[in-house]
Every structure is written in C-alpha cells, then in structure tokens.
Symmetry: C2
Subunit: 677 residues, 2 copies
C-alpha cells in the first residue's frame, strides 16, 4: 500500500492526506484548493508556483525536503527567472512549481494570491464585495508533437487536439470547460497564421481562447499577455479601464469628454441631430468610435502594450449611446412606443466595429433594459446586485439622463427620466465640468451669509483660482442658499439690498459665490435665479420618477438609496435631501458609489457568469414608462418646490403645489419628457 502524507494549504488552511508521489497541484485539486496553470503542468508557465513552509505549523512538521527535489524542467524554469524574482523579494529558496514537486513527507504549502485558481478582486460599494476573476478570454500554452510522415495530421487539427488536452488538464481551477476538438473554432485571422506560428515556435505556442470555444490569438513560444478594456460611454464623458484579464487588476484608467457633445448636450438633442442630418448617424458614430480608440490607444501606450494584446472589450452606455456606438439609428428610440433595436447582449468582432484591438477580439455589449434604461444601468445592477439582496434598494444613476431601479431579490422595476444637463454643470451660467479650477464644495454661513468654497486642484498643487462651478457645487450652493434663507421654498430670492453678494444681475436676482478678484476669469461667479430654476427642474424630475417607481413597486420607503454615477459620487447626500432630490431617507442609508456602470462593465469583463446574469436581469426587470404615466406631470409639478424647512428631511413639502402656473416647468416637460411624437 502506498504511504500517505498530510498536506496543508495556506492561507485557506485546508488539509488532507494524499498518497506519496502526488504532485502538489494534484493534491490541492483533490482537496478542493484551486491552483492556476496555463501550460497544463508542463513546468513552463510558472503560474502554479507555491512556497513550501519550513518548520512546524498547525501541528504539521514541514520541511523543504518533504517534497521531491527539482527535476531538469523545473530547474531550467527557475534558472531563467531567479534574478527577477529575487528583485521582487520572493523567497527563492522555498519557491517550487506545484505541478512538479511531489509529496514525500508531511508538508505545509502557502499558495500566493497570484497562483490561486479562483482569484477575486474587491469592488468597493455600498457593501464591499468580492468579484471572482473568471474572464471570458484566457491564455493557454501548448506544446505539440511535430507533424511526421507517419502521422501527417493538419496543423490546425494537431493544435486543436493538443489545446483541448491542455484545457482539460488545466481544468476547473482555471475556470474553463474544455470543448471537443471539433467544437473549437479558429478566427480567420488566427487560422491564416497557424502554420507559420507553430513552426516558428518549434511546435510550442501560446493561444488565447474566447468563451472556451474560439481561438482568437496565436503566438510562437510562451506568452501570457491578456488584456481587456471596460468602457463606459456616458452622454457627457467616456471612461475606459484597461484590465489584466489574468489578475483582474486595472492597469490603466483613461477618460475624456464625449465628443458627441458637439452635436448636442443631451441624448434628445443628439437623436434630433441624427434625424435632421443626412450624415448625422455617421457623424455621431464616428465621434464616439474615435474617442474609444483614442482612450484605448492611450491606455495601451501607457502600459507599453501592443494593439494585439487587447483581447476583449466590454461596453456599457445608455441605449442612445449603445446604438450610436454600434452605428444603429436612434430615430425610433425617442418616439412612442419607445422600443430599442434590441435588448439582448452582443458579441461583435472588433474589426467589424473598427475598434483598434486584436482584430479577432470581441466587443461585448451588455444587454439593454428599455429604450431609456440602457446597458449602463445593467452595469449598475451587476455592480450593486439588488437582485441578490433582501433590502429594498432605490438605485439612482445620475447623469444627463437619470436611470432608476427599485426592488430586491423578489422583483426589480426600472425607469428613467431626463434631468437636463444642469447636474453636469451645463446650462448653468458659470457651470463647468468637475475639472481643475472648478468650485466643487460651497458652504454659506447662517449668520453672515458669506460663502466658503473649495476649488479642484491638479494633484497636490496649491488650490488654483476659480474658473467656474461644477455640478456638485451647484447642488451645494442652491441647497445652502435655501437653508440659510437666501431663496424660499418656491426657489424665489428673498429680495434684499443690504448685502453686495445678493443683487440684481443681467438675468434677475443672483448670489455671488466668488468675486472677480478671487477668479482666474476676471468675472464674478454668481448663482442666478435661472440656475436655481434649472436645479429645481432637474431635482423635480428625479423626485417624481422615484415617487412613481416606488408606488409601482408598492414600496413606502426604500431601505437604502444608492447614488451612482461620477456625479452621484460627488453629491453631498445631506444637500440632496435638503433640496428634495431623493425620497425621504435617513442620511445613514444613502450611499454614493461612484461610476457603478463602469464597475459593472469591468465585472462583466472579468467574470463570464455575470454576462448570463445580466441577460437574466434584463428578462426579469419590469419597465415603467414615465411619459405614459398620467401621474408623472402632476408629481413633477408638485416636486418643484423645496421641502419645508420645518421638516428638512421630509418630503411632505412636495405635496404643497407651487402657488402659480409655471411656464418654465411646462417647457421642461414639453422638451424633455412629453411624448415628442
């Protein structure tokens, strides 16, 4: 009978007995501990490296010689890398390849994070959450038997056989399901290179496989570059996260303004541009495509990577951005009955879209919920996971358009409302993006009514002079102006002439946040009565949408309110409550989670299971169409006022209607909300 030895795997602490002669990776697998491998236990990739503990731990006497000594292959492997690893501070003496070292005594093994088969990354959110790294694209290293006259199998058949064998051996630790050799497709651009690549690499090659079924990259010899990009196309800004698909880490982040803003500030005006101009679709499509390629190029250059190293891209965006990115008409999105071209997720070749990545790479687009609740909101759901929670969540993704979801694991409802561009600093007299020089926080003293403010600076440099005021500061300023009594609950200025900051300007009454000499633009920076109006319109639309969605869900009050979106991250929840932007909720239950849509794109990039989950979500979520809800206009008008100061955290004030008809509000409704058909 074969002798057995105790093996303990740290840091998990899993322990068990295995027969002498079992190599450590097999021992780990038999005990349910997954260790990575790309080369199928060939002593080539080094992904399965572990540390052998020396000494007594957890009741086990471990020693370096409780595993078999290195064979030629393993020695050769370490000979090449020892210097680099010493520099990284790794304990070379204890380092072994778990696919080679065999158990010959009781042993304790430490599996470093980088070698673990089921890697996870942390996403910070309302709750801190772990994301399993199970990417759709994976690299494999394959050593093939050379073709011979006795066995003259074609190169592709030979490669498919060898690759499937590697995929089987690498197995579930690497989260792959090996297909049959005949089910393995080869992209045409790969196929063309197979014969040269296998010979140049002396029948040793690295390939990248998409979704366990299609070979999308081939290189001679050992390579492990595998990168993907998560892209969030917002109406106003585009963000790209370049990720290492093996580790899950973000290696570069790039962002820029959406150049489509040249054709219109919000999605309605861009749809109009598309319909009114013969080449409107081409112009809008080219703009966003060029922007994504620019960001991708920057990120790759920053990391010294080649275009061919980019093996997948996941894109989210609202339905209009999604359609324009795909060069699909948006002419029907804004007209009743408001249907998108499609709901389902898509995988399109980068070369068909004109994305400057590996030509065989796929671009994955998350599915769409509805005409006005897009793939970006699906990204938010993947990031915030209301469908896995008992708490009733209200998630508000605030951008030029706000998308709202309410519910929990039992059911989800979604809707959207335009908020106008005020929250992003547009259509505000001195509004600007949250960039260096922008006033980002404003406080007003209760007694003196004097403001204090902070300005965004470049990195650690001294605070510059103000150039303008960004969305979050406008919210701040208006909320403070109401709190200290500069404006009343209907948004009108309390007229007074004793303070130079409160005065009549070009457009009516205004409050000066920064005088000329404090700015770099040679102008005073005031908040005007019109700016207050813009904020009222935006917050009113948001509030009315949330109100109707909660009503449809039969929820009195959500357990948590989650503010998503880059802008959402900068809002002070207290101010949002003062203004009545969001339903009445204890301040401790309001969370700002940043760009959750972008995080969702990253999650879908790194975890293939989440893509299925996204399709299930889209199939299950209930869509609420605001424009056809008879109560929406009414709720909108009711919500224009600010809440009564006597009940700063109560929304009862909204039920007191504005005292007179409001032509500005009606125009907002006509322009942004009412059925334009």
């Amino acid at each position: 009978m074969t002798q057995e030895h105790i093996v303990v795997f740290q840091p998990s602490g899993v322990r068990g007995k295995v027969p002498a002669g079992t190599h450590l990776r097999a021992a780990a697998r038999s005990l349910g501990v997954e260790i990575e491998s790309v080369c199928a236990e060939n002593a080539t990739c080094g992904q399965c490296r572990i540390l052998v503990e020396d000494g007594r731990r957890g009741g086990v006497a471990s020693a370096l010689d409780h595993v078999t000594p290195m064979g030629v292959d393993e020695q050769e492997f370490f000979a090449k890398r020892t210097k680099a690893w010493k520099r990284l501070g790794l304990d070379i003496e204890r380092l072994r390849l778990s696919c080679q070292a065999e158990v010959c005594g009781d042993v304790v093994v430490f599996v470093p994070e980088s070698s673990r088969g089921n890697r996870q990354i942390v996403r910070k959110s309302a709750t801190e959450r772990l994301i399993d790294v199970r990417p759709t694209v994976r690299r494999y290293y394959v050593e093939m038997e050379p073709a011979t006259l006795a066995k003259p199998l074609a190169d592709v058949a030979r490669l498919a056989d060898a690759l499937v064998e590697v995929m089987e051996r690498v197995g579930d630790g690497a989260n792959c399901i090996a297909p049959g050799p005949d089910d393995l497709r080869f992209d045409y651009t790969v196929l063309r290179r197979v014969s040269d690549a296998v010979r140049e690499g002396d029948w040793k090659i690295s390939v990248a496989v998409w979704n366990d079924c299609e070979v999308i990259d081939i290189r001679s010899g050992y390579h492990d570059e595998a990168y993907g990009a998560a892209v969030d196309i917002g109406s106003t800004a585009i963000a790209l996260y370049l990720c290492d698909l093996a580790s899950g880490e973000v290696v570069a982040t790039e962002s820029m303004m959406n150049p489509q803003t040249a054709f219109g500030d919000d999605i309605m005006s861009r749809m109009t541009y598309q319909v009114d101009n013969e080449d409107g679709l081409a112009a809008l499509h080219d703009a966003v495509l060029t922007a994504v390629n620019t960001l991708l190029g920057r990120a790759l250059r920053r990391c010294k990577l080649e275009v061919d190293d980019l093996l997948e891209m996941v894109v989210v965006g609202n339905t209009t951005m999604h359609h324009l990115f795909l060069n699909m008409t948006t002419a029907h999105l804004g007209l009743a009955p408001f249907v998108p071209t499609m709901h389902r997720s898509l995988d399109i070749k980068a070369r068909d879209l004109g994305i400057e990545a590996n030509p065989a790479a796929y671009v994955h687009l998350l599915p769409i919920e509805a005409s006005f609740v897009g793939a970006d909101n699906v990204g938010v759901l993947l990031a915030e996971e209301p469908h896995h929670q008992d708490d009733e969540l209200l998630i508000i993704d605030i951008g030029t358009n706000a998308e709202l979801v309410v519910g929990n694991r039992k059911r989800l409802l979604c809707t959207s409302t335009p908020t106008g561009p005020a929250f992003e600093g547009a259509h505000i007299e001195y509004g600007m993006r949250a960039a260096p020089g922008a006033i980002e926080r404003v406080r007003i003293d209760d007694d003196t009514l004097e403001p204090t403010y902070t300005v965004i600076s470049v990195d650690d440099e001294e605070s510059p002079q103000a150039k303008g005021i960004c969305g979050s500061a406008i919210i701040d300023a208006v909320a403070e102006m109401f709190r200290v009594g500069i404006i009343d609950s209907s948004g009108r200025f309390v007229e007074r002439t004793d303070l130079p900051r409160i005065r009549q300007g070009e457009f009516g009454w205004e409050y000066v946040v920064a005088f000329e000499e404090e700015t770099s633009i040679g102008h005073d920076i005031p908040i005007t009565i019109q700016d207050v109006r813009q904020i009222q319109l935006a917050k009113s639309a948001l509030y009315a949408a949330a109100h109707i969605l909660l009503r449809e869900a039969g929820i009195q009050r959500p357990d948590k309110v989650i503010l998503a979106g880059a802008f959402g991250a900068h809002i002070d929840p207290t101010q949002a409550l003062i203004l009545g932007m969001i339903p009445d909720t204890p301040i401790s239950d309001v969370y700002a989670v940043g760009n959750a849509a972008g995080d969702g794109a990253r999650i879908a990039l790194l975890n293939r299971d989440k893509r299925r989950e996204a399709m299930e979500l889209v199939g299950a979520i209930q869509r609420v169409e605001l424009p056809v809800d008879p109560d929406f206009q009414n709720q909108f008008m009711l919500a224009l006022n600010f809440p009564h100061m006597a009940h700063p955290f109560s929304s009862i004030a909204h039920l007191i209607p504005a005292s007179e008809p409001d032509p500005v509000a009606q125009r907002f409704l006509d322009l942004h909300v009412n059925d334009p058909s």
Copy 2:
C-alpha cells in the same frame, strides 16, 4: 363528426382522406407530400400554388368548387399576378394557393415542380443522379405585429419571435429546423438595419437565414432573391456557377484562366514563387481573389442581380489553391511531412475574405483530404459518390495535378501525382487551351499517314483556321502516331524520309498535323519528339499513381474508371487506353464526367447535408503518399513506354522497362515528384 373527403395529389398520385375544412397544404403535409412556402401560409409568397383538376381522374370526381372560394387575401394575391401568369401560359382558372383553399369535396390536385417542397435537380454523371435542393441559405417572409406601448418589445426580439414562428410553420417541407428565438443570431450588418427595415416595410419584411441559425439579410416587404455561387479554382482555370438557391438552377456560368499562371504554370512553381518573394503570398492571393470577384461580378451583371443578392459561396480547389485563396502560406505543403494548415471545412464571412457579395454572406470551403488531395477532390467525391456504391471505382481528376481515388462504400484511398502541364496544352510546342482555333481531335489514316482534324469554333460559326493544339488533341495525335507506327512503343520516331509530314525539325523528329497554309498563325503545327516525351512523362506518372493506389487497396482491376476534370471530359477513352494512361479496363467501363469538382461545389451549395457528408469522407479516407512509396519511381520508369500493339488494351507492356536510362524522366521525377526538402 366532421365529414371527410378524398384528396389526390398529382403527379405523385398520393391519396388519402382529410376532414372538410382542411386547407390543401395541410392536407398534403398530412399525407407526406411537401409543398413549398416562404410566407408561412400567409397568402403572400405564392410558392404553394397548385392546380385544381376539373373532371374525373383516378376514380375521383374533382371540381373547382370542391375547394372553398377565394377569400380577400387570396383574391388580392392573384389580382396582382394574373397578367404575368397568363403570359406564362398558366391555367389561371384552376390556380389556387394551397395554404388558403380548403377541402369541401373530393378533389384532385396537381402540384407543379416549382411548388414542390423537396425539389431535386439532375446531375449527369457516370450514373444520372438527383440532387435534393436543401440549401444552407433560405429566405423567409415575415409579418410582425407592430410594437405598441402596451408591448414595447425590442425590434430584434419581435423579429426573432415572428421569424421562428414562420420557420416552424414552413417546417420540414422547406427543409428547415426552427431554432429558439434566443439561438437565432443576427449578423452585425443586418442588426444595424433592423429598426429602419421593419418600419420602412410597415412591419413586413423578408430575411435570409443561414444554416437555420443566423439572419444574414433583411429587406422591407416581400423579396425572394436568393443566389449562391459555386467556384472551382483550378491551377489553370477558374469556373464559377451562379445558382438560384430556391430552384437549384444554374443561372450563369463564367470562367477564366487562373491569373496565378503568371507566377508559375503548376502548383510547385507557385509555392516556390511564394517562398522566394517577400510579397509572394499577397501577389498570389490577390490574383485569385480578383479573379473570383471578376467572375462573380460578371455573372451577377449578366443576371441583373445586385451584389447583396449573393448570399453564399462554396469554393473548391486543390490544397494549394485553397490555401492561397485564404491568404494562407503554402510554404509547408510541399515539404515533408506534407501537412496542410487544416483539413476541416470552413465558413468565413465574405467581408473578411474580401469577396464582393452580401457582406454577411458566408464563403464555405469544402474540407481537404491531404496536402496534395484537396477540396476539389472532395467535390469530385460528392459528385461521383463512390462511398454510396458497391462497384470499385477508380476516379482520376486530371488537371495540372492529378488526384486519384479508389474504392467503394467499404473504404476509400486517395493520392495525387503531378502530371506536368502537358495535358492542359502547356509545355507543348504549339499547345494551347481548348479555345476557338484549337485543334481538338486528330485522326491519322492507317495507310497514307495523313491526318484529319477538327478545330474548335465560336458557337455555330464556320470552323476557323488552326492556331494551335489543345490537350485532348495532343493525346489523340500521340496515340494515333503510335497506333499507325509513326512512333514506336518507346516513343521514338520510326525514321523515314518519304513523307514530308515526317521530318527533322528544330528539336529533332516531328510530325506535321497542319501545314502553314491551313493555319492562321503562318507556321506549320507539328507534334515534336519533345511533345511526345511530355505526354509520356505525364501518362506515366498517372499510370504509376493508379497502379500503387490499386495495389494499396488490394484491387486487381476497378469496375469503373471515371475521368473527371474539364480535360478528362475531352479525352477519348480509347486513346487513353492506347497510350496506357489508365489501367487496363473494358472501354465500356470508362466514363468521362467533366468538371466533377465544380459539380461537387454546386452540390454542397444546394444541399447542406452534403457538407456533413464531406467532413465524414475526409475523416474516413486513407491517404497514400507517393513520394515516400519505394515502388513509385520504379513503376514510373516502367510505365514510360506505350503498351505493345499486340495487346492494345493490355497494360502488360508497361512491365517491359525502357531499354536505356532516361535522363528526361529522372529530371521530371526530381522536379515534380521527389521530396524537394
């Protein structure tokens, strides 16, 4: 209980009882008679039209009023088309749509060929054979419910649901298997157009579906254009057959010289060109791609069709042509161990290859048997079907390279041999292609040794003067020269000076077939001793290859010899036997079947099942490598002589070796056959 009536379907004569109120197409289906439909019984496509017989036939009293009168839809359908159909001589009075007319009395129905669900086309071959028309690409006409606010499903989801329903209703009569709506893919180029197309067509559209799983074309309203091209890329000539995918008919045939001949006459010289020149692969690939696009453009223009109407292409060619068409290196094909990049069949988007067809169309490449037995030979097998026969066949596809298959349903073996370009009229002093002006048949009088010959003319015009001599006539001439004693069995001229036609020319002895004054080129057209030598080399290689293949198969004598290839069609089997080109076989068992490779491509285009069969064949066929067979050179040398005249149909003569060493033969072996590595 519902009353039942007798229904008889002609011309098949199938009869049975069906309940009153059953429409005729349903009645047909219940009796196993398949009637076509594209619109899923919507009175739109008219594909299911039949004739109601009036009078007593086969014991049944049939009458026009034994089916229900036309409803509004059917009346509308016929109102539009009556004139056109009257012009075609159709009996309008008796014409009905079988999806509308319901049985209300005993009735006899005639189903015209064009309405039959299981259409067949005839392929002429050694045996006349019927091909079931079951194309991979099929059109469907879909009427969708418009989107409404109450049911705002996305356009693609709505289309998928409606299309799957049509596919289910059209059913097996149309040879389709309806997928689930989620399994239906949409090509990106189609996806982009869905929303506009469904609205322009008022929610009535026509789509084309590839392989029951991918929508590759979308048009507003009713359309039934669906064309495919079968392409045979030969080393010397390229042929394209444009087919109507619904009827299976060839609507245009185009051919041209393979422009790659500029880079070398045979595949060996083209491989060399590719390896020796940096842009060699690009040049060879561009040449063949441009040629195929040119032929396709011509065929489409001839039929007044648009590029988008071309919905599929099937390509065959020897392995070198296959690889060059795909822009894949051929550098390794000619070197031991002679492996191709791949065996398996391929489907590649036309746009990825640069084929000027519908961009979503697929180009299907039949699989490859071996490095030197290509997809063209798979085409030959699909056309000749040795795997379905008891007879032992020897199939020889003769071109610049000859591919040979032997066997029957039990097992198949294949091999190939270069024959040099002599059979195609190249490397022959006055050789030319089989084009107008070419001498195509030669006979020599036994007594006077005077020749008679025929020249290829343009259509019905008078025979022109000779410009040269084509492959089949060279065979003729050399066989006749041997038969009448101008040359002996070793190929040497019997020297004599009494006849002006037999003389010493620039290159040695020659026989003048046409004197200067009979030609349009102002030169005598002789057959030289060198021409005789070329024929000897080619026929010897062919014979030796067949000999070894039969030996490997353990066959003494095949039951049938099939000569394929455009050239094979022109050979006179008697002459081939006189020369000893093919093994000794009764003349009645030798068949010339023309371009069987091209026919095979057409079969694969029209019948999807044949593609699976092709893959099975490639998996099962046994490859015999001549260059590594120790007996090949020996057999080749033995076969150089012509058979003894005493036994004109016997091959025993080959066993008498040439009397002296033959440097020309050795050079041929070194150049074409021996392992060049």
